[in-house]
């Protein structure tokens, strides 16, 4: 099939809008999944949806997206409930239960998919696009339906905002004030299923969970407010979804899922590194500054102590002496140079240092503060 031939701006717009909707919805619900430490749940739901898609096709013989998605939703939801059930009935921990459900459902789904593709009447179904996603196949009416589901999911989150928030933050307390925590939990899980299944055709069952976890994890880096995190996750999700779909649509046979994941990962990496307050780069720099500050302080007080033992205020002491005084810590020379820049120490000769009047005043002030 000549993909490029029938593409037009109109199609690209449909694709971009559709995947942006998917990403935004996944970002919102993903925020709660991440905060509940249920990042794996998204993975399980999306993989568990596969047999639902295959069974929906086998039972109805149609490839109409709403039918397949309905099948996906039922299977994904059952998968999520099964994992919950396994943890309460058996001694399996949550991650193991999620893993078991994921592999059983996904394996069953792959088996059904193989069976469908071997059938002689093979319309070939094209169901295998559900594995890695093919956003280029999005139709406008699909996008409208997805937007409706996404908007409904996000509206319900807004409607039950404070209940979902307190239940996510402190479930015991939430139950104690009479909130129906079990039903809220069911609501959030169901909305997560909805957010995931609308993305399965475009992004694929294998990688859809990336759109659940990555935007939320990235958003958490930039803000300390739940509302800010959710809005930002929606934005990151929309950008990842749309840019991933557009890139994959502009290259031949490039499945959408992996490209979307790459876009989302880029946002995560930048956020982890560069976000203010939580970013690795900033934290490193702050730690270094703090260490340097403590270092220069200690060296200054050592210089001050040495100066008090000598009448000559410009009596110089070797850097090695100061290093010994700080217990052989490296970086003492750097601290001395820093003090020199700030006018609190001066160099005398090759390797000698003494404290200036400014340094003396500063050291006395710090001594007062700490005593």
């Amino acid at each position: 099939m000549d993909l490029l031939g029938w593409w037009s701006d109109y199609t690209l717009r449909t694709v971009a809008l559709g995947t942006a909707t998917i990403g935004a919805t996944a970002g919102v619900l993903g925020s709660f999944a991440v905060l509940r430490r249920q990042s794996l749940l998204g993975d399980t739901i999306s993989h568990a949806a596969l047999p639902g898609i295959a069974l929906a096709f086998l039972l109805t013989g149609t490839k109409a997206l709403p039918v397949l998605i309905a099948g996906a939703a039922v299977a994904g939801w059952l998968g999520a409930r099964a994992a919950g059930g396994l943890t309460s009935v058996t001694r399996l921990k949550s991650d193991a239960a999620l893993g078991v459900v994921l592999s059983v459902f996904f394996g069953f789904g792959l088996m059904l998919l193989t069976f469908i593709q071997r059938r002689p009447d093979a319309t070939q179904a094209g169901l295998d696009t559900f594995l890695f996603g093919q956003a280029a196949a999005l139709l406008q009416r699909d996008v409208v339906a997805m937007a409706a589901v996404g908007a409904a999911a996000v509206s319900l989150v807004a409607l039950f905002w404070k209940e979902i928030k307190v239940q996510t933050f402190d479930p015991g307390f939430a139950a104690s004030i009479g909130l129906p925590v079990a039903r809220l939990d069911l609501l959030v899980t169901t909305l997560l299923v909805a957010a995931i299944v609308i993305g399965l055709e475009s992004v694929g069952v294998v990688l859809m969970s990336a759109l659940v976890v990555a935007p939320a994890a990235a958003a958490r880096q930039w803000t300390d407010h739940l509302s800010g995190m959710v809005v930002l996750a929606a934005a990151f999700g929309a950008v990842s979804g749309a840019s991933g779909a557009l890139i994959s649509a502009s290259a031949r046979h490039l499945p959408t899922g992996p490209v979307v994941v790459l876009c989302a990962s880029l946002i995560v990496v930048v956020s982890l590194l560069a976000a203010p307050a939580r970013g690795v780069v900033i934290r490193r720099a702050r730690d270094r500054r703090a260490r340097r500050r403590f270092g220069t302080r200690a060296v200054l007080s050592d210089l001050y102590a040495l100066a008090r033992q000598h009448d000559d205020p410009e009596h110089a002491h070797a850097a090695a002496v100061l290093e010994a005084m700080s217990g052989g810590r490296s970086g003492v020379r750097g601290d001395l140079e820093e003090l020199e820049r700030r006018g609190m120490a001066r160099r005398a000769g090759d390797d000698g240092w003494f404290i200036t009047d400014a340094g003396r005043a500063r050291a006395e002030r710090e001594l007062e503060e700490t005593s």
Binding site: K165, D170, F173, A175, S176, R220, G228
Partner: protein, 249 residues
């Protein structure tokens, strides 16, 4: 006067291990009551069973004479500080405001009134200047005081507090004690899971010694003695002889 809490024949089991066995307990109204016992004695489970956070195998709980389900509004809960994720994206004020959520009911958003109440409560625990701080940037004692402020705005008649004194600084300990006494003066009942046997007599009027079963319960002067403590802790205990200085072992 009706007891604040009446527990009858309460049994809770995880799997086939009983965690609480046939617990009968009455806590009179208006007292500060400690629940003490060794690790694994079921103290936290007792709290959770009263609140129906765990399903008991048997037994019932009455709050001011009626089943808990009808009296939920009267009961405030302060969970263990360590039971939640303090990296959750929210501020001190926001957490305290959650104390009003039960009263607000579904769909209604907290407004100015809730904000004012929360600020008052924060002032009471000496945290007014930290209202806008993110909760991950609090010390352990400050975290505990945030939980207490949330309990204050809840304005319950009976409070269940799970180890509020665990790992807090002296300032916070004093703030908690002051708050407990304020609550008692206001006629409220507070049941506190407590670890520090040294302070039981100073802080509390009533004590329950628990080790899966209730070993003893009653006014501190009557039941908080060496014999009951040995029965509760199985003789592996260092404690202060009642009224005397702290002993070694």
């Amino acid at each position: 006067m009706r007891p604040a809490i009446q527990i009858e024949d309460l049994t809770v089991a995880y799997g086939d291990t009983p965690v609480l066995w046939d617990v009968d307990l009455e806590v009179p109204s208006g007292v500060l009551a400690a629940v003490v016992g060794p690790n694994g004695a079921g103290k936290t489970t007792l709290m959770k069973a009263i609140l129906r956070l765990v399903e008991p195998a048997a037994g019932r709980v009455l709050v001011e004479g009626k089943p808990y389900a009808e009296q939920r509004r009267l009961v405030g809960y302060v969970p263990q500080r360590g039971s939640i994720d303090w990296d959750f994206p929210t501020t001190v004020l926001d957490v305290v405001t959650m104390g009003r959520y039960g009263e607000l009911g579904l769909f209604r958003r907290p407004g100015r009134r809730e904000r004012d109440l929360a600020m008052e409560a924060l002032a009471e625990v000496g945290m007014a200047d930290l209202a806008d701080r993110h909760i991950s940037r609090l010390s352990g004692g400050q975290q505990q005081r945030v939980f207490l402020a949330r309990a204050i705005v809840q304005d319950a008649r009976v409070y269940l507090m799970d180890e509020p004194f665990q790992g807090v600084d002296a300032t916070t300990e004093r703030a908690i004690v002051r708050l407990l006494r304020d609550f008692r003066r206001a006629g409220k009942t507070v049941i506190v899971v407590h670890h520090d046997l040294q302070t039981v007599e100073e802080y509390f009027d009533w004590v329950t010694l628990l080790n899966v079963r209730v070993v003893a319960a009653g006014p501190v002067q009557e039941v908080f003695d060496e014999e009951n403590l040995r029965a509760t802790y199985g003789g592996r205990i260092a404690f202060a002889a009642p009224g005397g200085p702290p002993g070694d072992a």
